[in-house]
Structures are given as structure tokens and as C-alpha cells.
Symmetry: C2
DNA sequence: CTAATACCAAGTAAATTACTAGGGATTACC
DNA sequence: GGTAATCCCTAGTAATTTACTTGGTATTAG
């Protein structure tokens, strides 16, 4: 029941993007360097974020990524689901369609538990916006200038 | 972010135990057959449940397992944590000790999110008792007799 | 034209999962 | 006291998943 590096790295990376993209697009390479992550691995994560329309990109020299919307309109839930697929604890209660019959064709006896866990998780992550993480960041790093963060 | 078969099979199995052990101990073999699970794999899961003192066992012929306490005193959280280790979404916020420095020695910027997810999950699973699952079961299976469940 | 960037697909090593195998220990029953 | 049913324990292993890397192509500013 652990998050994969997709969710962990991806949230860190998009937060880094949010903290640095006020003045326009920023490159994957700069995010990778600041966060100590592999650039080519981040490419895959950003492809998923872009597919979910959470970020936009500009190609060519001076190109880069930026948020597709204001940070208060992007939730941690949007981000994690884009990266992890679904945050449901079992496939049989995943939001995305194909949860073929849970068990031997009859309703799974523990299904209600998985649904409650899924809803509990979604309730948490859908109520944290990227803006809140930005605010938290500045609250915890008062002494550093934004461009140095 | 998916539960492993330990958690899924284990919860099913202990619920099966709870539903059938009113009259004393029942064998792993009978649980495995009813639930369509491997008996030898269940052995490992029951070893974990026993270590967590959620179940008791009697050895020898006519032996078997039974709950260590009344089902209203056993929570789904107790069961899942016994089986999965911790339900925290990352090691760095797991309840069990050793979460060595989250990141490059300074506080991880996304840690607050993982803590909230962890607390959200625990809040759900610690507030569902095995008794509630038993009640749910009978509510959904009114037509079947308890001994046939 | 060149170089910097995003974009894409496929391959791969390591780790984890989900078991199985092969026993041993205990004890009711005859 | 022998037998067989049961719990108990350790280690092995095949399959799957993860966490990347590799080796490109496409786009575009300068």
C-alpha cells in the first residue's frame, strides 16, 4: 500500500514547477537538477501530467513546461491520479471503469471496506490544492527568496 | 498505491473466521476452501495475525483458529496493519519507527501531504470493526442461514 | 543551420509479490 | 503409544511490477 516513485517524484516535480514558473516556462532539466531526479524519468511523469492537462509545454530552445491552470485550481488528487492511475486500494473499486467482477461472480464481502478507504483517500487529496503546498513552502522557508527556493 | 493480496485475502479470511468461529476453532483448510484461497499462503497471513494477537490457535487434530477478542474490539485497521506492515503511503511517514531522513537531510516538501493521506486512511480503517463487517454480511445475505454463509 | 528543448517507444536490471515446497511440532483419538 | 490432523516454520522461486535507461524523432529560437 505504498505510493510509487511516480506519485512521489511527480508531486515534488510539479510543485517545483509551480514554485518556479511564475515568469514563464521552465525546463525539465532544471527541475531534475533541483530535485535530484532523473530527467528522462521525469519525462515520463510529465507526459502523464500533460495528458491529464495539468501542465502545458513549449518545444524548442527556451521551451519548457508550465502549469495549465492556476495552482488553486489544481488539486493533489488530480496530480496523484494522473500519475498513479487511481488511488483506490484495489482494482475492483477503482474509479476508472473496468473492475471486472470482484470475486467468484458475486459481490465481494470486503468491497465496502475498500470503497470507504478509497473515498477517505480521495477526500483528503481532492481537498489539498497546489496553492496550499506553495503557501506551506513559503511558510516553512521564510528566509529564502522565492527565486532561490 | 494498491493493497497486496496479504491485505485483501487476509481480511476476507479473518472475516470468514469471524463468521464461522462462534462454536469454537475452525481450520485453515475450511477457510481456504470457502474463500478459494491457498491454504499454505493463508498460513503466512495467519502467522502475522497471530503475532499481532488478533487470533488464537489450537494445535493438533480438531485444532484451528479463533478470534482473540470479540469482533467489536478488533478493527479493520488492526487487521490491515498486521498484514501490510503499515498503511502509510510512504515509508517516511510510516508509524513504525525507522523513516530515515526523508530527503537530502532537510524536511521533505511533500511530507505534509503523505501525513494527511496516512491519517485519512487510518481514520477510516480504525473506525470499522470486524463486528460491523459481520453485521453487513448478514444484512446482505438475509436469506442464508449463518452456518451456511 | 545548429542546438536546445520537448516528445516517444522499447528495453532491462532490480525489487517485490505471491506464492509453493518441504519439512517439523503438537495433540486428539484409537 | 501410534497415527493422523492440524498448526507452525523456513526457504526457495516464478511471475510481475517498478524504476529506470537508451536511443532515438520533432520542433523551433537564434
Amino acid at each position: 500500500m505504498k505510493l510509487s516513485t511516480k506519485g512521489r517524484y511527480g508531486l515534488k516535480a510539479i510543485l517545483d514547477l509551480a514554485l518556479h514558473s511564475a515568469d514563464g516556462q521552465i525546463t525539465l532539466n532544471s527541475i531534475a537538477e533541483r530535485q535530484g531526479l532523473s530527467e528522462s524519468y521525469l519525462e515520463q511523469l510529465f507526459a502523464a501530467l500533460k495528458k491529464a492537462e495539468l501542465i502545458k509545454s513549449i518545444r524548442g530552445p527556451q521551451g519548457g513546461y508550465m502549469l495549465a491552470d492556476d495552482p488553486e485550481n489544481i488539486s493533489v488528487g488530480d496530480i496523484l491520479r494522473a500519475l498513479e492511475g487511481s488511488m483506490a486500494p484495489t482494482d475492483c473499486v477503482a474509479e476508472n471503469g473496468h473492475h471486472d467482477l470482484c470475486d467468484s461472480s458475486d459481490r465481494c464481502i470486503t468491497r465496502g471496506v475498500w470503497e470507504k478507504i478509497r473515498d477517505g483517500i480521495n477526500n483528503v487529496i481532492d481537498n489539498i490544492s497546489l496553492q496550499e503546498l506553495i503557501d506551506d513552502y513559503y511558510r516553512n522557508n521564510k528566509k529564502r527568496a522565492p527565486d532561490n527556493a
